[in-house]
């Protein structure tokens, strides 16, 4: 179990991480979410003792990272930077890491196979694409067969195939009982993979809760109706005890409405419908609202962050996850 106790990091007069305390739950995927510049990478580097906290500390099963014997066997990490020397082969990169932590040499071949880099094992990292470099970084993280894995923005710059691969990998790692701690600035990405959510903004903790809880709190569903006969429709709805509210472009919305019942109701009253569509409030919007005050670099486009525009296109994401058939 990784625990952060009042972790603080100050660069000059700028507080990058501000009194951050939370625990990373074991055996699940925890999404570490925040806008760019929120302090996610700094926090991750402090967990690995790469950056020294100004105050506070991180413990891993009660110990500091520097006191962990053969740390790669306990925590595997993929950090933002590529981390492999361009002139060294993928195999040799993993070999020196394995040797430093007394990991058997056979494990190098295993992880290369696991991430699909066996064919380029003897190629120098210089020629690797972004996706291959990311796979090499993940192979390095998995090298010591650790029970905790940390990924910093793992899908950045990946093609769709690579993104799907990483999502599946993280889920399968958690299914094996491992702790996965993954940072992202995209709520939509986290909604698909994380079981638990830690949100920070400007180095401060904004939320620390199970993903299901976050979805329940923040996803309002509604049904949008559009008709050339609004008065008849409103009468029918009110007659059925519903309270429609005006939606965009002259439409009407019914919160938590059932499209089947609403369609039947309109037909029974002879109302012509031009639209009958379920709407899902986006988690992205909820996240943006939560972090709106803490975005460091913002554009002054009105409504860019503060007033979320309805985006029904996104909503398809999380309910496929709920159904467990995420690809």
């Amino acid at each position: 179990m990784i625990e952060l106790h009042h972790l603080t990091k100050r660069y000059g007069d700028k507080l990058a991480v501000d009194d951050l305390s939370f625990r990373i739950p074991e055996g699940v995927v925890t999404g570490f979410l925040g806008p760019n510049g929120a302090g996610k990478s700094t926090t991750m580097r402090m967990i690995l003792d790469l950056d020294r906290p100004t105050a506070g500390e991180v413990t891993i099963d009660g110990r500091r990272y520097a006191d962990v014997q053969d740390p790669l066997r306990e925590i595997g990490a993929l950090l933002e930077a590529k981390g492999a020397h361009p002139g060294r082969t993928a195999y040799d990169h993993l070999l020196w890491m394995a040797q430093s932590n007394r990991i058997p040499r056979e494990r190098v071949d295993q992880v290369l196979d696991l991430v699909g880099l066996t064919a380029v094992a003897k190629k120098r990292a210089r020629g690797f694409s972004l996706g291959m470099g990311q796979r090499l970084g993940i192979a390095a993280a998995l090298l010591g067969d650790p029970k905790i894995l940390m990924f910093d923005e793992p899908v950045n710059g990946l093609d769709p195939e690579g993104i799907v691969w990483i999502r599946r990998l993280m889920k399968s790692l958690a299914a094996e009982g491992r702790t996965v701690f993954v940072s992202s600035h995209l709520m939509s990405e986290m909604a698909l993979t994380a079981d638990h959510l830690v949100v920070i903004g400007r180095g401060r903790l904004l939320a620390d809760l199970p993903m299901a809880e976050f979805i329940r709190q923040n996803s309002r569903s509604s049904v949008r109706l559009r008709t050339p006969q609004p008065e008849q429709l409103l009468d029918a709805l009110r007659g059925a005890g519903l309270s429609p509210r005006p939606g965009p472009d002259g439409s009407w919305e019914v919160t938590d409405g059932d499209p089947v019942l609403l369609g039947d109701l309109a037909a029974a009253h002879g109302v012509t419908l031009h639209e009958l569509s379920p709407q899902q409030a986006s988690l992205e919007d909820a996240f943006m609202q939560m972090t709106a005050d803490s975005v460091e670099y913002r554009t002054d486009i009105p409504g860019a962050a503060a007033t979320p525009a309805p985006q029904p296109a996104w909503g398809s994401g999380w309910d496929t996850r709920q159904a467990g058939k995420e690809s």
Binding site: G83, A84, G87, S100
Partner: protein
Amino acid sequence: MAAFPAVLQSEWTKVRSIRSTVWTLVTTFLIVVAMGFAISLLTRLNFAQFTEHDRNPFDATNTSLSGIALGELAIVVFGVLAVGNEYASGMIRVSLAAVPQRGVLMGAKTAVLGVLALAVSLVTVFVAFFVGQVALGRYNTDLGRPNVLRAVFGAGCYLTLLCLFSIGVTMMLRSQVLSLGILIPFFFLVSPILSIVPVVKNVVRYFPDRAGSAALQVVPTGDHPYGPWTGLAICAAWAAAALIGGYLVLKHRDA
């Protein structure tokens, strides 16, 4: 704690798996031997035109080791690249995540690079000596003469100490470009030029390369107010200071 022998093995893998570091060592060998041979050969062919001062006493050992003036730059580059590449590629974070005890990481790295530099340096200077003596023909010397073995062995130590000095400097600067940009002009231009400027040269003779080169001389040139071993010790003190500085930077700064 990471196990020190395991980290040594890991650092050895790092060194041998990159071409640039391997080639700088090969280059050191080739430059020192080839240049020593060429200068020795030219010395034999032109010996008659040398001044009496240069001929008597003639330092055959130092002549065969003339290539060090240029070859030392190659081993400095080796030291800088072997350490600096980790900063250039962001690999230092991966290294420290694998071995979070920074003293252990630096100790193992310095030990591996130092032993490798010493082995290559000794082979290089002894080969350069023997090849140079062949080229010098009847003006040659041999290891049995007074101070000759000390000068050749001292040359190997000198190259190794310069390499360790560069390792320390690179760890302090954390950038191979910056380190090369400072060390190469320093050893190639600043130190040699200042060493002939009056007054200033009294200070410059305590610079690492000036002091260390005292160990290479069988016939003292009179540039050094100290003996060969003291010169080497001054050079070693520079290397130690650079390594301690490098350790403090590595220990206290964020990676």
